[in-house]
Symmetry: C2
């Protein structure tokens, strides 16, 4: 089986949306990526760090989903990374109420031996130095390295981020971040500039407005599925990335045509993620539901026009 | 040939964008709809009103595009409707600097005899009473009546607008307007509520984020083509509507499957409209360019996924 190595936070989230609020629940980019990737018959492993306060049932949950957790370090006496946030009425704007880095502050990732030759490497949103350390530990160059990052690192560690960007095949960022990173307003021009920084593929996530995949002159667009109810956007971007990377690992086909499918698969899984708080909807998500929704994506986008 | 009757403003626009500004140039919803519809081998006519100040070369321009102008009244001594607006940096926000209704204030539309049996009726954004008057003048019920409107009429003439909405097959509005009209945030729920007001088909325009077509349980999404340069968004929505209505008139196929194509065609033509100021790009737009761009829309959206 093909291997997918994931580095990303495994954390506690406390979330408030117009529809309700949670206490500390399971969260973190690594968690969401892992649960999304668990939809595929691949070997997925997470590299991360948690504190002693991290409940063993969360480890069980990940393992039950077939995710290798050998690379998740437990720091004795340490406390797990915690994020508390609040979404405004339209769910497009969120405010961070509290961030406690805790054990994440000194995180030194260690890639398990068996995953140093992974076909696909998914670098979840984290300090670029941590991402670089994982890249450096790989014994064979992955067929595809996917980087997810955000404006925080553009503002605070631009140099380190630049070095990671230069080493990856795919970067996934949102539209505002693409504009910030490139200094270009047009997403077409922004993608061109980002190509020049290294990544052959640029994925621009636009939340409820879908995602764009750029590769030179090639462009593909996957809409977000129009949903009756969006409950909690937390983890949607990570779930998208996990679906994208997981599908590539499964198919081992890195052509642009197949990347289109990976983007659709990522959008598909993300459409489930937002339907409940945190990871709730992604736990035990049924393959049948996913296939049905894929059919909805087909109906939503496929047309057969005659030139007129 | 199939007939398309258009009612909409024929006007002067003065436009300012971050990329430049214009003096009074040809504008108006009816004009943009007409130019878009001129892409098809159909009989299209515009019902509108202008003042004596409206240059004869603009009439010639419309006629050269095969548009019947018998229904455009010239008010002796009158002045043509004038709109002046300014777009902010990201082109998504616009400010109206001046509106002079002029001859539009007392507009009594008169449908030319030969178009009272049009297959498709396109009601461009105008006072709902004017739109209703055109509906009432039709001798045979059009196969498809398409309504474009905006928040201004929702705020100022809600009763009259409601009556028009109850009589049409398709309504095209933007996302914010759909939310306002329905009182629902989710566009899925908003479309359901608007269905209940009358229209079997609800088209929600999201500008650079594409357009959604709803019909009961059926949903289709057409992206906007990602463009390197967007110069002036004026008329893009009208051009979309003109392409949509024109394609339906040409094909005379009002199935949901063909409506998908109409939405794609509308998006295609709108992608040209924004490339230059006002109607400039739409004048003499080449069929070959349109077909090439249709191919781009295919590449942008079509995928062939295998269940995994």
């Amino acid at each position: 089986m093909s291997k997918l190595l994931i580095v990303g936070t495994v954390a506690f989230d406390a979330i408030e949306t117009p529809f309700g609020k949670t206490d500390k629940i399971l969260g973190g980019a690594g968690t969401f990526i892992g649960l999304a990737a668990s939809q595929f018959r691949i070997d997925a492993a997470i590299v991360s760090v948690v504190g002693e306060d991290f409940p063993s049932q969360y480890f069980e949950l990940l393992k039950t989903h077939g995710i290798n957790t050998d690379g998740i370090e437990i720091v004795p006496g340490g406390k797990t990374f915690f994020w508390k946030g609040k979404y405004m009425n339209d769910l497009n704007v969120r405010e961070t109420l509290d961030t406690q880095l805790n054990v994440l502050a000194d995180f030194q990732p260690v890639v398990p031996e068996g995953f140093k030759n992974s076909e696909v490497l998914m670098l979840g949103n984290l300090h670029p130095s941590v991402q670089m350390s994982v890249i450096d530990q790989m014994e064979t160059k992955p067929k595809m390295t996917v980087l997810d990052t955000m404006n925080f690192w553009m503002n605070h560690t631009p140099k380190e981020l630049e070095e990671v960007i230069a080493k990856v095949d795919v970067i996934t960022i949102n539209d505002e971040e693409a504009r910030q990173l490139s200094g270009e307003y047009s997403l077409v021009t922004a993608a061109e500039k980002i190509h020049e920084m290294g990544p052959k593929y640029v994925v621009i996530k636009k939340g409820e407005h879908g995602a764009l995949l750029f590769n030179g002159e090639n462009v593909f667009f996957a809409p977000a599925l129009p949903l009756r109810d969006v409950f909690d956007p937390t983890g949607a971007g990570d779930t998208f990335a996990g679906g994208f990377a997981g599908y590539l690992a499964l198919t081992e086909d890195y052509s642009f045509e197949n990347m289109k499918n990976a983007v659709i698969y990522g959008s598909n899984l993300a459409s489930f993620c937002v339907e409940k708080f945190g990871t709730e909807r992604m736990q035990g998500l049924d393959k049948k539901e996913v296939f049905e929704r894929l059919e909805q994506f087909r109906n939503l986008t496929q047309f057969d026009i005659n030139l007129a």
